[in-house]
């Protein structure tokens, strides 16, 4: 029973709320000798493993630190270029730390607004009239559940494929939204939700559902 995250997309398609609930952080550090036995490449301002998978370092993982010094973009803390460093045999042995790529807020906003037209296309593609749009999107590692309210707000929960009772959870989140976001006089509609009460109540709800199933809420 794992819920990975909750997203709320406004009527106009903007991400107004995001909560990463339970994303296991995978990190692995290893000491390497020259030459490096994995291939790294620079993509989307990150250094990622593109080939060569071993010891828990998988393709797609991101280089986060070299000898304990954090990597931002392709530079180290002292401003040196990581690729240059990796080409110099004298700098080895090196300890490299890899972790699973985490989405930045910008990427989340981007994905949320991508889901919006996808949802609309799905409802247009439908062979039957009056189709609801995407309600469940399933993959091997997760299942995305979407609930659109009559007013056009989408509540999205990403969970394990085996997690059931998400429909009830989505309705509960809608109730929390109606209570703690909308009744907050300082929250303006369509804007990102920054309400602590909403967040804490959501957290409690998600934990309850994970622990004892959706029937208990």
């Amino acid at each position: 029973m794992v819920i990975y995250g909750v997203y709320i997309v406004s009527k106009s398609g903007g991400l107004i709320f995001n909560h990463d609930h339970n994303v296991p952080r995978i990190e692995s550090e290893r000491t390497f000798n020259y030459p490096l036995d994995i291939k790294l490449s620079y993509e989307n301002k990150k250094i990622v493993v593109c080939f060569g998978q071993k010891d828990g370092i998988n393709v797609g993982h991101v280089l986060t630190a070299v000898n304990g010094s954090l990597v931002t973009g392709r530079d180290l803390e002292n401003g040196k270029d990581v690729f240059e460093l990796l080409e110099q045999p004298e700098s080895f042995p090196l300890s490299l730390k890899f972790s699973r790529a985490r989405m930045t807020t910008n990427e989340k906003i981007f994905l949320a607004s991508m889901f919006y037209p996808l949802f609309a296309i799905a409802s247009q593609l439908s062979p039957e009239p009056r189709c609801s749009g995407i309600e469940i999107l399933e993959a091997d590692t997760f299942r995305l559940h979407c609930y659109q309210t009559l007013t056009g707000i989408k509540f999205i929960v990403v969970a394990e494929p085996t997690q059931n009772g998400i429909e009830i959870l989505l309705k509960k989140i809608y109730e929390l939204y109606a209570d703690y976001a909308l009744k907050n006089p300082f929250y303006s509609l369509e804007m990102p939700i920054r309400c602590e009460l909403f967040e804490t109540n959501l957290q409690t709800l998600l934990e309850n559902v994970e622990k004892s199933g959706a029937g208990s809420v």
Binding site: T149, L182, L189
Partner: protein, 178 residues
Amino acid sequence: MSRAGTKLDSKKVNSELFTLTYGALVAQLLKDYENVEDVNKQLERMGYNMGIRLIEDFLARTGSGRCYDFRDTAEKIQTGFKIFLGITPTIANWSAAGDEFSLCFEANPLTEFVELPDHCLNLKYCNILIGVLRGACEMVQMEIACWFVQDQLKNDNVNELRVKFIKRLEDAIPAGED
């Protein structure tokens, strides 16, 4: 009024507190604006802003679906009154075209201790309700107009709130709904 976590029964919120708070609001508006018409307008505007938020609470709580008929809407509005004000107005006086109806009710928690003084006979004391209805319906893509045709504060026998359907806001209907 929040339910989750606190397990507070929303019906148990004292209606007198609500009545008096609303009274204080109207009295303050009368002080702030010289003109009664401005107060009417302001009340409606406030109601509208409440309505566009309150609708989510209504939908989340009742789980009701979309209305495809104005009669459905009438019943849902009636439920709304029950949930939020604790009164059940009767639906009456349907127009022949089925696009206009009245909500009649005698007990009105908003006006429980109220008498209108002479200088504000034009005051639409309950105008906030009109705004709430308009705002709430607009969020579910329905444009309506409403007004009071009878008002107990003006010595009518009942309160009669007339609701008229204007149009569906087709552009605003979210994808996957129509």
